[in-house]
């Protein structure tokens, strides 16, 4: 990392009095002692919602898929909408940890831990839907290609649903590895602060006995790079393959070549919006305003306005291509999408995804905590509608008008969706309570260059050499910087 940063550049760690020790204190404090009341209330709400979601899952399995609102024409609706939505949200984590790491974006350090956690929890929620949308979920193991006594009967490698199985399981595995490997030094920090033997032991196991030796740091950085390299193509592949679920079909409105880039852009868009939502909640809940700064919000909002615009271009491209194709089924599908019985969904999608993020061209709004939160919610809603629009409006009126139908959800559909939000937040709150919610080591790695207090010292030549000494020998590293500072693990 560049050891020098212009003092004019906005700081990424705020607080006049922030020191390495204070960073550790601020972040680890949340895992110690009694959780704040706000956390308790949030956790209670989330876990009740999650339990309701679990109940809805059980109810579906017990009764049959008929408890959903699906019909003979619309065989996928909220289930796959939720699946794609969650998978899309899961995109930001990898993007932030891997791609931004490779691009050496310092601002990622404040948010990557939570973003990665969010990825994993989102993929868990996403994974529930393809499994539980099966009519015979107890036969779900049929989708794995394993040697069997039925012939052997193999899976159908032509099916995009099978590609999904591989794409998502790979993505999940790599994301978990990436997340966990980053956690190890921070677990060690918690362990070293632990006051009880049991706590010490648990975090020691979690940290895989991390001792912070130079060799460990060197391996740690190599691993980070390797995983970043592995993950980067996954950012593109996962949602590309999810888009194949639709693009390889014959359904007008699904059968489009634009889907892979369009889906990837949409996924990053929705993922960043969800990270934004979570960060704004977390920084408030755990008083981490110093580490998740307005500068972070602004960077995120820039990505949101960019990807939102890409998505908007994709929407318009679809319409233009449908018109230009001269193919009546496609022409009708897109006409119906925008002006048919589900036009309210299309309007919601367009408003939330394309129009609303454009306000981020204004710096004032981009830097406003309130508007960031509001718009992140808008984008989350809009991206859910995007998937709903693609799936349901294409299916409900396809080739033969005799089979046209209308889909109306049931309480179970809604319960499952809300339930997964509950599961997501339950997991996230547990994570925030027990794991360091910000990557301590990584934030410290940019402290010397990007902290307000450091910048202040930099401006004062007397202190400059002192601060700089922490990282001058790590010019090669793009990732966590080895700290020889004796305070590092103690404070």
């Amino acid at each position: 990392m560049n050891p020098y940063e212009s003092p004019i550049r906005e700081a990424l760690i705020n607080g006049e009095d922030t020191t390495y020790g204070k960073i550790t204190d601020d972040i680890v404090r949340n895992t110690e002692g009694t959780p704040p009341k706000s956390w308790m209330i949030a956790f209670a709400l989330a876990s009740i919602t999650a339990l309701f979601g679990v109940f809805c899952l059980g109810y579906t399995v017990w009764k049959g898929i008929g408890v959903w609102g699906l019909n003979k024409t619309v065989d996928w609706a909220w289930d796959i909408t939720n699946f794609v939505w969650w998978i899309g949200i899961g995109h930001a984590g990898t993007l932030i940890s891997a791609v931004l790491l490779l691009f050496r974006q310092k601002w990622r350090t404040g948010i990557n831990r939570a973003a990665e956690a969010m990825t994993i929890f989102a993929v868990v929620c996403a994974g529930l839907f393809p499994v539980f949308h099966m009519g015979r979920v107890w036969m779900a193991f049929f989708i794995f290609p394993y040697p069997n006594t039925r012939g052997p009967l193999w899976v159908n490698f032509n099916s995009p649903l099978l590609w999904d199985v591989f794409a998502i399981s790979t993505y999940f595995t790599v994301s978990v590895l990436f997340w966990y490997s980053g956690l190890m030094p921070d677990f060690a920090t918690i362990r070293d602060r632990a006051k009880t033997a049991r706590r010490k032991m648990i975090y020691n196991v979690l940290s895989f006995g991390w001792i912070g030796s130079a060799k460990q740091w060197q391996r740690f950085e190599s691993l980070s790079l390797v995983l970043a390299g592995l993950s980067t193509p996954l950012v593109l592949s996962v949602h590309t393959i999810v888009s194949f679920d639709f693009a390889t079909s014959v359904v007008p409105g699904w059968h489009t070549t634009i889907f892979p880039p369009y889906f990837v852009a949409g996924a990053i868009f929705s993922g960043f919006a969800m990270v934004q939502t979570l960060m704004l909640i977390t920084r408030k809940l755990f008083s981490l305003q110093n580490y998740i700064t307005v500068a972070h919000l602004e960077s995120m909002n820039k990505v949101i306005v960019l990807t939102g615009s890409i998505v908007g271009v994709a929407y318009i491209t679809e319409l233009v291509i449908a018109w230009y194709s001269g193919y009546l089924y496609e022409q009708y599908a897109f006409y119906n999408r925008a002006l048919g019985p589900y036009k309210w969904a299309y309007i919601s999608m367009m408003t939330c995804n394309v129009i609303s993020p454009q306000v981020f061209w204004f710096k004032k709004i981009r830097r406003s905590v309130f508007y960031s939160f509001l718009l992140s919610i808008f984008v989350n809603i809009g991206m859910w509608f995007e998937r709903f629009v693609i799936i349901v409006t294409s299916l409900h009126r396809d080739f033969l008008p005799s089979s046209w139908n209308y889909f109306t959800p049931t309480w179970v559909d809604a319960g499952l969706y809300i339930g997964t939000i509950g599961i997501f937040f339950t997991l996230f709150l547990l994570f925030a309570r027990t794991f360091p919610v910000i990557a301590i080591a990584e934030v410290k790695s940019i402290f010397s260059t990007s902290a307000v207090s450091a910048k202040k010292k930099m401006a004062d030549p007397q202190d400059f050499s002192d601060v700089h000494s922490h990282s001058h020998d790590h010019g090669h590293g793009a990732h966590a910087v080895v700290h020889h500072d004796k305070n590092f693990n103690e404070q």
């Binding site: 399995v61 017990w62 009764k63 049959g64 898929i65 008929g66 609102g69 699906l70 019909n71 003979k72 024409t73 065989d75 996928w76 393809p130 949308h133 099966m134 009519g135 015979r136 979920v137 036969m139 779900a140 049929f142 989708i143 009967l153 193999w154 899976v155 159908n156 032509n158 099916s159 995009p160 649903l161 099978l162 199985v165 679920d245 390889t248 079909s249 014959v250 359904v251 319409l319 449908a322 018109w323 009546l328 089924y329 022409q331 009708y332 599908a333 006409y335 119906n336 019985p341 299916l395 009126r397 396809d398 080739f399 033969l400 008008p401 005799s402 089979s403 046209w404 139908n405 209308y406």
Partner: protein
């Protein structure tokens, strides 16, 4: 000792036969274990590896064997196996479906002694192998939970002995005291039953036999009495007519003998390069009927103007014939005048039929036919039809004098439900000796003092004479399931004749039928062969008639007066194809059958036209506005259904619903409108309420011409042309995009990918849209053959009906009088199937014979195949409809609103399950199912051919839908057999096309362009209409 070699057979075999004992006792050693056994036995040294191999094998084998739980089978084998029953092999018996005068000759398929399917009997000269929906569904009535299972006295179970004693003694005393005894039945077309009734009347001289038809044809019969002196229906020859004009008679759907008429009608509509003539069909009607939907020209008129149209037609033709006209109707319609011109031009080759139940109107129609010279040409009196014999006057007298009736015996009817004064009639039943002879519980059985439970027709002996001299037989295909007795036998017992009915019938045949036929020399031969064939055509002398058309002027005046009291809104009462008069409205197959005209199920509704937007429903939310209808002193509420083609100011409601006594409440939706028969339906009041209700409609109307991003474009899902265009170019209108289909096949149908190969058979189906009349017999046949679940009204409203075969209905032309095309739609068995490549577990795949197969036990239910099917023919088991395999066994008891008990709708209780076809898997929940092209029949057909050692003959395998079709619209066969009918059609007939072929699905089900006998196909003319947008 010298070895003796024995030999047998041809030289060269001697080495094989030896008396030496050292050759292997078991011939060849078991191949799989060769390596192991050899090394053990020859070397006698068991190596370590061999030992381990053997050990491993034994342990594994023992483990596998020990871990399989062997189910305990509690089946009891036959002690003496009946000669004709082979488990797994179906037996077929001829029989006849008779419901009042409705007659269809059937072939009943039985498996292991259970009747499971009724198919058409090709040997019948009446139904000609065709079926209608009610006849197919009649088998299910046998296993109905609504069966009257034992004789009852005053609502309590009794015995036949007690019933017979009580009835005989009471009837005797009534008869002795001169009390009136009435035997009320539907139309009886059975000669032997008539004889039994005569015996009964001989025993009880005060007994009177009254016949009535729920939907009365009394007017037609009385008109024939008046003009010909014979109270009967003539023999209509729809196959001999070049021009058919029907005024409100749905002769393809419900009128007198629809299967016969449809078969005859379609004979003249099969065009080919060789035959380029076809009949022309004009329908003048108010409510859109099945016949009207098939007409080349349809003239929508108000119900009152149906009568006026008859008068107009009479006058127009009389003036051409130079005969006296009658007083004018005061109604003028250019279309009717044009019809008269056409009729006059087709003199002697035309046929005018009318559905009116007004004697005077029917007299005028007889006059028209007479002036056109149709008698003797298209209307014959050689074999009068006996299918309707009801007498309105007698029934009216009975209802009026019901209090003076001392005993009433009712059979083959449900008067409490179907009489206009049903309620009053029902009350009277409790005050007299009322005896109901019925097969299922209904409104009448509920009110009757004695219920003498009768057999289902498949448990009975019987005969039927639908037309003079054409006699069909019924034979039992199963022993009576319950303690029941066929009603003829009850009548005989009460008449003091204890002969079993079969002997009585046989004796009757020997004395009365034997002399009228010359085919068989002995009465035993006659009996055996007729029972086998199901029908015999006896000699018949045409009745001598004295036509009298003198009093047409009075008829016209009366006819005109009959519709004088009309208001702004007229109500038409009509009969539905699947439901009919309502005697079968407890049959779930029929209730769930989408009505061919409205595509609605389970209930009736108020039908009106598409001219008034305030009645429109929301096409997607299924919210139908409820209206309050007031007819005279009666009012009721029903949801409104807007149907293009019904003229403004006309509302229609069907009979057959609103039953109150059935096996379960799910069969009781809708409103009974028989009580409106006594009201003036030509002046009704309709008030919209603020309420809405869903209707179980399986298709919501949409255009084939849609506004898309490129403006209005038409989907070429159906193709139709006119006869003139067809004569010029056999491939007319058979286009794909801008190409002629044959050019498109040659130039555009290219692919880089290798397709499937079909080394053996390649099954294909061809459906002629010109012959298909949309009657939906095939839909019920498919349901019956393939164990398709009935899901109930609630699920149909949620668009989850399970039918493998549906009939799509599309409109062209004006929304006030559109042209209708029916298109049977089932799995198209695409050779490049979109469903196959998206299934992650390969549960659906392509057979080497071109069939798209489903492996139910591999299916995990992702439903991607259903989404990706462009024809939307795949059906998902949302719940455990068949109670096949689920955690939640009580689906029906918990999920259907307001119903405490919900058996029988699905195949989910033991009695109804007897209908299941054992050759077809019952699907569990969570799997997709769809048309298998009757895979079980393909297999059976191939095995038969294999057993016979011959190549499979074209036509040897017939699918269930094909067998039920009354018009032979469906052809099925092997495309690889170049002699087959389908291969000739597909290769040579230029009308053949596939649905949405342009997406390269390569369907194996092909259709043939519809040819209309009219000048021009109606243009699409209503772009901005709320109902259709």
């Amino acid at each position: 000792m010298k070895e003796t070699k024995y030999w047998k057979g041809l030289p060269g075999t001697e080495d094989l036969i030896s008396n030496q004992a050292d050759s292997s006792e078991f011939g060849e050693s078991t191949p799989q274990l060769d390596g192991i056994t050899e090394s053990i036995s020859t070397t006698a040294q068991t190596g370590r590896r061999d030992f381990l191999k053997m050990l491993g094998f034994s342990v594994t084998a023992a483990t596998v064997a020990a871990s399989c739980k062997m189910p305990v089978k509690k089946s009891i084998p036959y002690i003496f196996k009946p000669e004709e029953i082979t488990p797994g092999m179906a037996n077929y018996y001829s029989s006849a479906y008779v419901n009042g005068g409705d007659f269809v000759s059937v072939l009943v398929k039985t498996r292991e002694g259970r009747p499971i399917l009724a198919e058409g009997n090709n040997l019948s000269t009446i139904s000609q192998g065709g079926m209608h929906a009610q006849a197919v569904a009649s088998v299910l009535n046998l296993y109905s939970l609504g069966r009257t299972q034992k004789p009852m006295i005053d609502g309590k179970a009794s015995t036949w002995k007690d019933v017979d004693t009580k009835v005989t003694s009471e009837l005797s005393s009534i008869s002795a005291s001169g009390g009136k005894i009435v035997l009320l039945t539907g139309t009886i077309i059975s000669p032997t039953t008539k004889k039994a009734i005569a015996d009964f009347k001989a025993k009880y001289p005060t007994a009177e036999h009254i016949q009535y038809d729920a939907i009365s044809y009394s007017g037609l019969l009385d008109a024939n009495q008046k003009t010909f002196g014979l109270r009967a229906i003539p023999n209509y020859r729809f196959d001999a007519a070049n021009l058919i004009v029907s005024i409100g008679a749905d002769f393809l759907g419900t009128w007198i003998s629809p299967v016969e008429y449809a078969a005859d009608y379609a004979k003249n509509r099969k065009v080919s390069p060789e035959v380029t003539t076809m009949n022309r069909h004009i329908q003048i009607e108010s409510m859109v009927s099945l016949s009207g939907s098939n007409a080349d020209k349809r003239v929508p008129v108000k119900p009152s103007d149906e009568v006026n149209s008859v008068i107009n037609l009479y006058n127009a033709i009389a003036s051409k014939a130079g005969l006296a006209s009658v007083s004018a109707s005061g109604y003028s319609n250019k279309d009717i005048d044009a019809v008269a011109d056409e009729l006059w031009n087709a003199k002697g080759k035309s046929l005018v039929v009318c559905g009116s139940n007004n004697t005077d109107v029917q007299c005028l129609v007889n006059g028209i036919n007479s002036m056109l010279g149709n008698y003797g040409a298209t209307i014959l009196w050689d074999r009068p039809s006996y299918q309707k014999q009801g007498d309105d006057t007698a029934v009216a007298n009975l209802v009026n004098s019901i209090s003076s009736v001392k005993a009433i015996i009712m059979a083959e009817c449900n008067p409490v439900y179907t009489l206009a004064d049903g309620a009053k009639f029902g009350d009277a039943l409790s005050k007299t000796l009322s005896i109901y002879l019925g097969e299922r519980r209904n409104e009448t059985s509920e009110k009757s003092k004695i219920v003498a439970a009768t057999n289902h027709y498949l448990e009975s002996w019987g005969d039927a004479e639908p037309k003079a001299g054409v006699i069909a037989t019924q034979q039992p295909t199963i022993s009576p399931l319950f303690d029941t007795r066929q009603y003829q036998e009850s009548l005989l017992v009460w008449a003091g004749n204890t002969t079993p009915y079969v002997d009585y019938m046989q004796a009757n045949w020997a004395t009365n039928i034997m002399p009228t036929q010359s085919k068989y020399s002995t009465s035993l031969l006659l009996w055996d062969n007729t029972i086998h064939d199901g029908e015999i055509v006896c000699n018949n002398t045409a009745p001598t008639l004295t036509p009298n058309f003198a009093d047409m002027a009075t008829s016209a005046t009366n006819a005109k007066n009959s519709v004088a009291k009309r208001g702004a809104i007229e109500l038409k009462l009509y009969e539905k194809v699947g439901i009919g008069t309502g005697l079968n409205t407890d049959n779930p197959w029929l209730l769930e059958l989408p009505d061919p005209i409205t595509k609605c199920t389970w209930e009736n509704y108020l039908v009106t036209g598409a001219s008034d937007e305030k009645y429109f429903h929301n096409p997607d939310h299924k919210e139908f506005k409820i209206a309050n209808v007031t007819v005279g002193g009666v009012s009721f509420k029903l949801p409104i259904y807007c149907l293009p083609g019904v003229p403004a100011g006309v509302f229609a409601v069907s009979h057959g619903f609103g039953r109150t006594v059935t096996a379960n409440a799910e069969f009781q939706h809708g409103v009974n409108v028989y009580n409106l028969l006594k009201e003036n339906t030509l002046d009704v009041k309709i008030e919209l309420t603020s309420e809405v209700a869903p209707l179980g409609c399986t298709q919501i109307h949409h255009l084939l011409t849609h506004k898309g991003l490129g403006g209005y474009k038409t989907r070429h899902i159906i193709k139709e042309t006119t006869l003139d265009e067809y004569k010029k170019d056999n491939a007319s209108e058979n286009v794909i995009g801008e190409h002629k289909r044959k050019d498109w096949i040659k130039d555009e149908l290219v692919t880089l990918y290798p397709g499937h190969t079909y080394p053996g058979h390649h099954w294909k189906m061809v459906i002629d849209l010109n012959s298909c009349i949309g009657c939906a017999a095939c839909v019920v046949a498919c349901t019956a053959e393939n164990n398709v679940s009935v899901v109930g009204r609630d699920q149909v409203i949620k668009a989850r009906e399970m039918h493998w075969l549906r009939i799509d209905k599309y409109y062209t032309g004006d929304d006030n009088n559109p042209q209708v095309t029916f298109q049977p739609m089932m799995c198209q068995h695409c050779d490049n199937a979109p469903c196959e490549n998206v299934c992650p577990v390969a549960a659906t795949n392509h057979s080497t014979e071109g069939i798209n197969q489903m492996a139910y036990n591999r299916c995990i239910g992702t439903r991607y195949c259903a989404n990706n099917c462009p024809y939307k023919v795949r059906r998902f088991n949302w719940y455990d409809y068949a109670d096949a395999d689920s955690f939640d066994k009580k689906y029906y008891t918990e999920n259907i609103e307001n119903i405490a008990e919900f058996p029988q709708v699905g195949m989910n209780e033991p009695l109804t399950r007897m209908i299941l076809n054992p050759d077809v898997t019952v699907r569990s929940r969570g799997v997709i199912e769809k048309c298998s092209m009757c895979a079980q029949r393909l297999q059976a057909g191939k095995l038969e051919a294999k057993k016979a050692g011959e190549p499979l003959k074209d036509g040897a395998i017939r699918t269930a839908c094909q067998n039920a079709c009354p018009t032979n619209a469906i052809q099925f066969g092997d495309y690889n057999n170049k002699e087959s009918l389908v291969s000739n059609l597909i290769d040579k007939d230029e009308r053949v096309f596939g649905v949405i072929e342009e997406i390269h699905t390569l369907p194996n089900v092909m259709y043939m362009t519809k040819v209309r006998n009219k000048a021009k196909i109606d243009e699409f003319s209503f772009p901005e209409n709320l109902l259709f947008s």
